[in-house]
Amino acid sequence: MKYETIVGLEIHAELKTKTKIFCSCSTKFGSRPNENTCPVCLGLPGTLPVVNEEVINLAVKAGIALKCKINQISKMDRKNYFYPDLPKAYQISQFNLPICKDGYIEINSKEKIKKVRLNRIHIEEDAGKLIHSENEAYSLIDYNRAGIPLIEIVTEPDLRSAEEAVAFLKALKEILEYCDISDCKMEEGSLRCDVNISLREKGSSKLNTKVEIKNLNSFKELQRAIEQEEERQRKLYALGEGHKIIQETRRFDSSKGETVSMRTKEDINDYRYFKEPDLLPILIRNEIIEKAKESIPELPNEKRERFKNLYKLNQKEIEIIVGDRSLAKYYEELVNKGVNAKIASNWLLSDISRLINENKLTIDKFPVRPDRMSKLLKFVESGKINNSAAKEVLEEMVNKLSDENPEEIIKKRGLIQENSVEKIKPIVEKVLKENEKVVEEYKNGKKQVKGFLVGMIIKATEKKANPRVINEILDEILM
């Protein structure tokens, strides 16, 4: 019996707003406990919610970026349940009239492009945070997170494997980051993913009991959790015990490496949804939609296509550069200032990246901006200096925080490359004369020693000679 895996995802992303969804408290991460609270988000008696306009703007932006239809009239609903991290004993969310519906993301699956459909996107408030310590008899509640604005993105059950799920989540994260909608930091909890998974016989059209998996904190966990649950369900079906698969919520235990049933936190809860009486229904004017459309940058997929066609970069290079919007921006600025596309890419992915990592920076904080960097790289391209000289200049600009122009440093350090054959030839001849034995070896077929000779010549020219010219002269002499 062949089974196929049916996976749907429910993703929560924190919106990048300054204030919470229903009050003006700050959304700053990492503040002291209960620092960002007020009577409204604490649910004190008599307080009322008021919707943050930026939440609407970002939700609409997300809807457009994800190719959804925007419901210009939508409403808020109350989802009622008791839990200590929920101050009002209800969460203000959206039930049957969400802000966006339909939509899709394209992912690469098995060399093909697959459209993964979205069912809806809605806005809601986050709950506070419960902290349990191992050895104590108490739990602590911090309400800083209560009222943080979230969008919930629900997919159709279109995913068929753990790989597809990860690819989807990565693609979604990329789009949300690109559009400045969310920070998407899974480690900080600003991006959370729950999985709904079931198995069915290949060829069947009906869906079997699905299981929900929560508490996944990384792409790796997402992948492993799906694979583990797939296995668990497959085994049960194989043994004819498919009925043991019940609709429940499981969590992924990373230490055990498997999914575990969660203690019924009132699994079957009647949320008694009803329209939120404290908030008027939301009308999204055309201007909001237009503004959101205009604020959407070139999306990752489009950028990848363009980079492939325009700059002729390979897949690996594109993945890395386009994968980070700031990196892509830096790259394009280099090229726009006249640097050769390949050279720009090589340098960005090797030396520049290395220096960024070594100094624990980001590309945005990298001290050498495209202006100076492009000048330096153009010198390399024109042959004014060679690669190793350029590296020296770059190191000086970064590690010594020099804000001088490349020309100044080149001049100061005397790094101008020597290109003249007349000047280089005598030195080549000198080195060859000092290494007659090696020259003999080369002429006897040991071709690899040429590198040694080139190295000696470069040293003798104090790294100033153009390696290409050296090679040409060598080839001529050694012929």
Binding site: K18, S26, V55, L130, I141, D142, L280, I282
Partner: protein
């Protein structure tokens, strides 16, 4: 409309309230009366009204500007148990 006492018990668990058995019984009967009254009187002759047609909507929202409630001591004055700025409750087992 007949309501069973088991349903009322389930409702009390949703509402986080406990009652004596006779209180639950009385409630069941009382609620049935109101629901029957509704069935007999109010639920009649209702045209097909679409509740998603709203007569009042809002298109102007709050500006995304931070306001700080400075006096945190005052804000949490009514809390019975705090520990290092967190609210303390008995340990929750999830």
């Amino acid at each position: 409309m007949k309501i069973t006492i088991d349903e009322i018990k389930k409702i009390s668990s949703y509402a986080k309230l406990i009652f004596k058995e006779d209180e639950l019984e009385k409630m069941t009967r009382d609620f049935e009366k109101i629901l029957n009254n509704f069935d007999t009187n109010d639920s009649l002759n209702l045209e097909d009204i679409n509740l998603d047609n709203f007569d009042r909507v809002n298109s102007e929202f709050r500006k995304d500007e931070i306001e700080v409630f400075k006096d945190k001591k005052k804000l949490f004055r009514n809390t019975k148990s705090m520990r290092e700025k967190n609210i303390e409750v008995p340990k929750l087992i999830e």
